[in-house]
């Protein structure tokens, strides 16, 4: 997934609120193709072929299990936190919001035409491609920080036209000029993964901040 993020983004389509005439937005349950993960973006193991990959996979599994347990203990859902922040920031931007339930087990935008019992002018479709903690590499100079990658598009209800499309990366592990990138909050960094596990409240707050900042960026794109 992280490699996929480096290779291809989505085409950027800017929104023009002054001509779009959108007042009410249905926020569709974001897609979330995978659980929270701990991503070591670059490692020594990657240089050692299959053996290295197997060792990396074992260590990744262990970190993923620890992170997911930590978030479960704190009753924290990245998806719920993101959706809550999205609704809050868009409402403060003057939109009237409705949430629209949808399957979250999808890795791309919805294909089928969108509809809602409550009439809306547009739908906001988002996909949370990656969420959890990332380290850019090994060593203390590459601490573990919250990371989140979201694709988003606004679709006009009457003709299903795409009015806005973009990608937002919180704590970008790769240099990408086409996506909106958010530098991670320095308050939430852990030099070692064990430090992260030992500070579950701080780790959860870090991920919550990532969802808040990402939602704000999407609200800025829709201003």
């Amino acid at each position: 997934m992280t490699l996929a993020l480096t290779a291809c983004g989505v085409q950027q389509l800017p929104y023009d609120r002054s001509t779009a005439g959108i007042q009410t937005i249905g926020v569709v349950t974001p897609g979330q193709p995978q659980e929270a993960g701990a991503y070591l973006v670059r490692s020594v193991g990657q240089a050692f072929g299959l053996v290295g990959a197997l060792i990396d996979a074992g260590m990744t599994d262990k970190r993923n299990t620890q992170l997911r347990a930590l978030l479960r203990q704190r009753d924290f859902s990245t998806l719920a936190s993101f959706q809550e922040n999205l609704v809050k920031t868009l409402e403060s931007g003057g939109y009237t919001l409705t949430t629209i339930p949808s399957t979250n087990e999808r890795g791309d935008f919805l294909n089928a035409p969108l509809s809602s019992a409550t009439p809306v002018d547009a739908y906001l479709d988002t996909v949370m491609l990656l969420h959890g903690y990332c380290a850019a590499g090994i060593g203390s100079s590459s601490p573990w920080r919250p990371c989140l990658a979201v694709r988003t598009r606004l679709i006009r209800a009457r003709d299903q036209a795409v009015l806005m499309q973009n990608e937002v990366l919180y704590n970008p592990a790769f240099s990408r000029n086409s996506a909106v990138t958010i530098s991670p909050d320095p308050a939430y960094q852990f030099p070692d993964f064990n430090d992260l596990v030992a500070n579950p409240d701080q780790a959860t707050r870090g991920l919550s901040t990532a969802t808040e900042q990402t939602a704000k960026a999407i609200a800025t794109l829709l201003r």
Binding site: P14, Y15, S43, V44, N111, S142, R153, Q160, A173, T181
Partner: protein, 203 residues
């Protein structure tokens, strides 16, 4: 082969070690003679061509514009006649530790401001502050100006990158590293402006 690999490594490390110095950040325009209207005629205005990117350095040789928000340095661009849907992308890119803090004003043929895109609409795209907007038929000029309210502020940008190290005489590994750059928001810097057709995205 070993020599080649070592050379490549040296280049990679060398490039990462030598950051571009860049100009001193200009944080005041008190010594400049600023005018009340952005100059939209003559050689100081750059025409934009569909499908191309123009790079402009904003420094003390460029115009100074005094508006309701204060004094700003600026560069102005002339748009072609807009007969099909177009978008414009504006990127303020760091030069060393200096980053022009941008805002955008779109004007009509009479030089009247139609829309103002403030500083906080610009979001980081990599290390650049960038925005994209749709153009409308009355749009004739684009002014990229500095935002006097935000100059002097410092912003940091952290991102991941590659770090190649030898692990045996014949093996190298990318162990990665994180880099944080700090920029001073300023009246000077470098902007890139791209004029494109509005992409059509089907569902």
């Amino acid at each position: 082969m070993l020599i080649l690999r070592s050379a490549a490594l040296s280049v990679a490390l060398g490039m990462s070690a030598c950051a571009e110095q860049g100009p001193t950040p200009v944080v005041t325009l008190e010594d400049r003679q600023c005018v009340g209207d952005a100059e939209l005629v003559g050689g100081s205005i750059t025409p934009l061509v569909m499908g191309s990117t123009v790079e402009a350095v904003v420094d003390s040789t460029k115009g100074c514009w005094r508006s309701a928000v204060g004094s700003s340095s600026y560069v102005a661009f002339r748009l072609p006649d807009i007969t099909t849907p177009l978008i414009i992308k504006v990127r303020s890119e760091p030069v060393g530790g200096t980053l022009l803090v941008p805002r955008l004003v779109v004007l009509n043929a009479r030089g009247e401001a139609l829309r103002d895109v403030p500083r906080d609409a610009f979001l980081f795209h990599g290390s650049a502050l960038a925005v994209a907007i749709r153009l409308q038929s009355d749009d004739r000029y684009l002014v990229v100006a500095s935002d006097p309210a935000a100059v002097r502020q410092q912003v940091s940008y952290t991102s991941g990158g590659n770090l190649i190290v030898p692990i045996t005489p014949l093996h190298f590994a990318n162990i990665g590293r994180e880099t944080t750059a700090t920029y001073t928001l300023a009246h000077n810097g470098k902007v890139r402006v791209t004029l494109e057709a509005l992409p059509t995205i089907s569902r």
